[in-house]
Structure formats: C-alpha cells, structure tokens
Symmetry: C2
Subunit: 201 residues, 2 copies
C-alpha cells in the first residue's frame, strides 16, 4: 500500500483528487493539507511514502515545502502536481530533487502511474515539458548565479545583493562578472535579458 | 516552401522518408546523403532550410555533422531523427544547438510538425525524452569536463588526457580536481561512476 499526503489549497480539488486516488487498490491518502506550511508537520505525523504537492499555495509554496521535506523526511518522495510548468519552477524542483513533476492537464491514469513510479524510486516528468527541460539543460548558471542575477534584475546593486544573500560586495561583483562571461553578454542588463528570455531566472 | 536535406545511411529508409515528406505541399527534399561526411558539402551546394540527420551513420556521425553545419552554414537548422535517445547524444545535440531531436518511433505527423517548428526557429524534443532532458539539466559538468572525465574513464592518465585534448597536464589535473568536487565524489574512480550512472559521460 502506497501512503499519500495531498497538499492543495483548493478544497474541492483536493477532495476530488483524494476520492480519485482512493479508488485505486494500492493507494491510500493518509493526510490532506491546504497550505505549504502544513506539509512537513503532517508528513512527520503520518509518514507518507509520497507527498503530492501543488506549487501555488498560501504560506510556503509547494517547491519550498518539497525542499524542507527533503531535509526533514528524506524517505518521503515528492510528486509536484501543478497547473503550469514555468522553467523556474522546473529548476527549483530539480534542486529540491523531487521525484516527479506533472501538470494538472495530465490524464488520471498518468497521475496514478506517476505516483507508483515515484514511490518505486523512479522519476517522472510531464511529456509536455520536454523542451523546457532541454532548455534548462543548456543553462550555464549555477543556482547561486541565478539568485544573484534575479536580484540584479529587480534593480538591486552589488551592496544590496550582498546584504540579501549574506555575501561580501566583492564576492557579488565576482559573481556578476562571471555571469556576464558565462552568458556571452555585453553587460549586466544584457545578461538579465538573455537569462530571462531563456527562462533561467 | 521548406527545403530539406536528408542524411540517413539506410537507403530504403531514406527513400521512404523522402517520399513521405514530398507528400506535404510545403516540404521539398533538395538533397539526400548516406553518410555524415556528405552533409556539409551537400548543404553548401543545395542550401536547405532544415537538415534532417540520423545519428548513427558511417564516417562522421549526425551529431558531429550538426556541429560542423552550425559553423559552416548557420542559417540551416537541424532536426536529429534517431532510433534512440541516449543522454550523451542529447547533451551533444544541445552543445551543437540543434533545433530538434525526434525519435523514429514518433508518428509521421510529429515529424512533419517538427520540421515546420524547427524551420520557423522553434525547438522540438521528443516527449518520451522529457525525463532524460530533466536529468541532463542537473548535470554540473561542462562539456569540457565531460571530455576530460570520459578519457579518464577509458583509463587515460593526466598526461595522456592532456595530449589528446591539447591541454597541459597541469590543466588536466585542475579539471579532474574540480570534477571530483562538483560531483561530491570521493576520488576520480568514484566521479566516473557517478557521472556514468547519471548519463553525463
């Protein structure tokens, strides 16, 4: 029996999903929560095999909850079930080492199949996100580079970025120089444009 | 009208593909070749919009031909059409900046659709390769790192790797140290194992 935790803020959607999954002989929903903040406490209390997490939820989002879950309960695997596959979300899912990433447009059989694959230690990615994943594979930026560049894109200067990321201003300037070189950009503004168009920040 | 070059070593397969593509009103096959070596000369002579390349061919393989084509005739876009999607092939396709990567198991409509997308500057990746692309996205190795590690996996020492890649032995040792660190490996052997299991070399 595969024990499931469901995190989805839309109550009627969550209940419908739970009813659908309970129809399967080998799946059982042991916990349901409506916000990301509740994921880890519920997982610690009910020890699910797989946590099925929406991304957009009040409080902690599903990807942050996945990262926290990985620290606190590494045996619980995660399947992200979301309405859209933004490249930035895919990248964060990858960093959080989630087992699967499925869109809500997928047919129900794909969902139950994905849960079984993830429970068995496999990986699942929605086929419609193939090109997005491929683009991501060409990303020369490390997650830290992306953090620095995202703050630069918001208009922060090196001192502000340094304060926000607990780095020294000199280190931030080194990051920015390296990022401009990695992207073959003319300057910081150009680097922001290139990374944004490619979905890397 | 979209002008096509077809490179496929199995003659009957190549002719069948050409016949299939000629059925479409907006596609025309301007050149057919049976080896990778012939791709660039034929492309220079016939200036196709899209080159549809098999990977496994005598002489130059399709991915090397794609890389050469990109240098010599950058306006010609490339669609790789192959029997299998090895992660190493996907990585090389990405480095060669190909427009599309499709498996021969795809339905004919997917092939014609992919050609049109690639001709228009878009990107296509076979949906069944979504997970492989996602795994690739987590690859911390640069293409050069992968070259160095692949030679190390074949048993070459730093001096041999240096000679093969036209680098100094000291530079190769720096690469190997960095690779071991990037992969959180215990040593070179462990780095080879990790990269091999992940499909990064």
């Amino acid at each position: 029996m595969i024990k499931l935790l469901l995190a989805e803020d839309q109550h009627v959607v969550r209940s419908a999903l739970a009813a659908l999954l309970e129809l399967e002989d080998d799946l059982t929903v042991v916990a349901q929560v409506g916000s990301g903040d509740e994921v880890v406490p519920a997982a610690l209390a009910h020890t699910p095999d797989v946590a099925v997490l929406d991304v957009d939820m009040p409080g902690l989002d599903g990807l942050s909850a996945a990262a926290e879950l990985r620290e606190r309960l590494p045996r619980c695997r995660v399947l992200i079930l979301t309405g859209h596959g933004k490249p930035g979300h895919l990248r964060r899912a990858l960093s959080a080492d989630v087992g699967g990433f499925l869109l809500k447009t997928a047919p129900p059989d794909d969902l139950t199949g994905a849960i079984r694959t993830v429970a068995a230690g496999g990986r699942v990615l929605d086929p419609s996100l193939a090109v997005a994943a491929w683009d991501l594979a060409g990303n020369p930026l490390t997650p830290r580079d992306a953090d620095v560049l995202r703050l630069a894109a918001e208009g922060a200067d090196a001192d502000e970025i340094a304060a926000r990321l607990h780095l020294s201003p000199g280190t931030v300037r080194n990051y920015l120089t390296a990022i401009v070189a990695k992207l073959n950009a003319r300057n910081r503004t150009d680097a922001v444009r290139i990374a944004h168009e490619a979905g890397w920040i």
